[in-house]
Structures are given as structure tokens and as C-alpha cells.
Symmetry: C2
Amino acid sequence: MITKIDHLGIAVNNLEESVEYYEKALGLHCHGREEVASQKVKTAFFEAGDVHIELLEPTSDDSPIAKFLEKNGEGIHHIAFAVDDIAGQLKQASAAGVRLIHEVPFDGAANKLVAFLHPKSTHGVLTEFCMPKK
Amino acid sequence: MITKIDHLGIAVNNLEESVEYYEKALGLHCHGREEVASQKVKTAFFEAGDVHIELLEPTSDDSPIAKFLEKNGEGIHHIAFAVDDIAGQLKQASAAGVRLIHEVPFDGAANKLVAFLHPKSTHGVLTEFCMPKK
């Protein structure tokens, strides 16, 4: 079951400029930064209610985020739903005809298991499921 | 102050097909539908935690959503932040150099005051502020 939206991933060209926008223009507080080598991005985190906003700047031209920016420009990259049974959730999506990017969840940031659905079968929204590891 | 994410607006080509996806593949429950004549859209609503997901299908070729779909295809159209002082929030954004689509909030759906920031000055994310009317 989907319990909430865990986070929104937003692709940006320049992390510092975007952090400044989220802080000064929106008044949100940046509560962390992290470089994720496996995804070739550096990130900054904000909270709005119980949803995290994750800004993503590519650190390399072959980062998935670099490719997204090239094609679409800055904008919302993905939505991550917190689920209570990630294997069951993937099975339900697959049974409904959704193409899975990951058939098996893998270790994501913040000690969570994560998996993505393909945006071609989610009506244009790159969709992540995530669940805290037991 | 931003208190939470109120809703995400997602542009879709066909409301019925997308409702089926959100229900069957994601297991979310559609708790309402509405046609908004002023925006030339028909909508369907879901909840994930305390965030609403609003699917938007244009009812006319000159709907803002029709233009978005033509340019970008299906995907997340806007993010709406719930705020406790919409006039103050717009003033803060403007002072930080953000271009406002609406200088003065107007009556939106669900008895709320709403106003939008221009995506050219929000790093690609069409951003709405909304606040319940007193």
C-alpha cells in the first residue's frame, strides 16, 4: 500500500542557485546535502510538511539527471511513494501491465529499498517506490 | 510559511486511462471528479498521505493543459504548496526576484485562494501557493 509521498526529485542545473531560490523565495530550510556517486548527482534536501524535496544536480555528463536536463530542462524528475510492502507493490504494478525499471528493489539512500517504474507506462511520471529496510 | 504540499497537478491525455492506472497499478482510490470550466479541464483526485494528486485532462485545445501536453507530453504539471499567509508568501517570493503570474491571489477550487509563480523564475517548476479562505 502507498502510505504517502516520500519525496519529489527535482532536476536542476545549479544546486547553489536552486538552494538559494528554495530558501529565499519559498522560505524552506535546506536540512542536508549529499553527493550520490552511483547516480552521479549532488543533492540538497528540503521538507514541506512530511514530504522531502530533493534537488538533483548532475556531477557528470552521463548522469541520468544530465540526460533529463538536456531533454526537458529543469523540472520535477520523479515522484517517490513510500510503501509498506515494496515487493507486493511491484507485483501489483506489473500485474496491471506496468513496465518495471527494477524487478527487484535495490539499496537506495537513507537505508531504504527502492525501485522505479518506467515513465512510458506511468503516464509520463517517473515513479519510485521506497520502503525503509527492516 | 509553507506548511505542506497541498497537491500535485498531473497533466494526462485521457482521464479514464490514467484513473485506471492510479487505481489498478498504484492501488490509490479516486475520491472525486470535477470539471473546472474556467481552466478547461476535467480532473480526478487521489490522496497519498496528506497530499492530493490531481489528474488534469484538457476539455478544449486552448486549455493551458492542452498546451502543456503538446509541448511536454504527459507528466507533472505543477506543485501546490499550502501556505498560512498567501499575500506575505507572494511578497517574499517577489522580493527574492521571482516573477509572479498572479500578483493578487484569486478564488481557486475547494474554497481556496490561489496564486502561481512563473516557472521561468522557479527553476522549471510551475509553483502554486494556496490557502483556505477565511
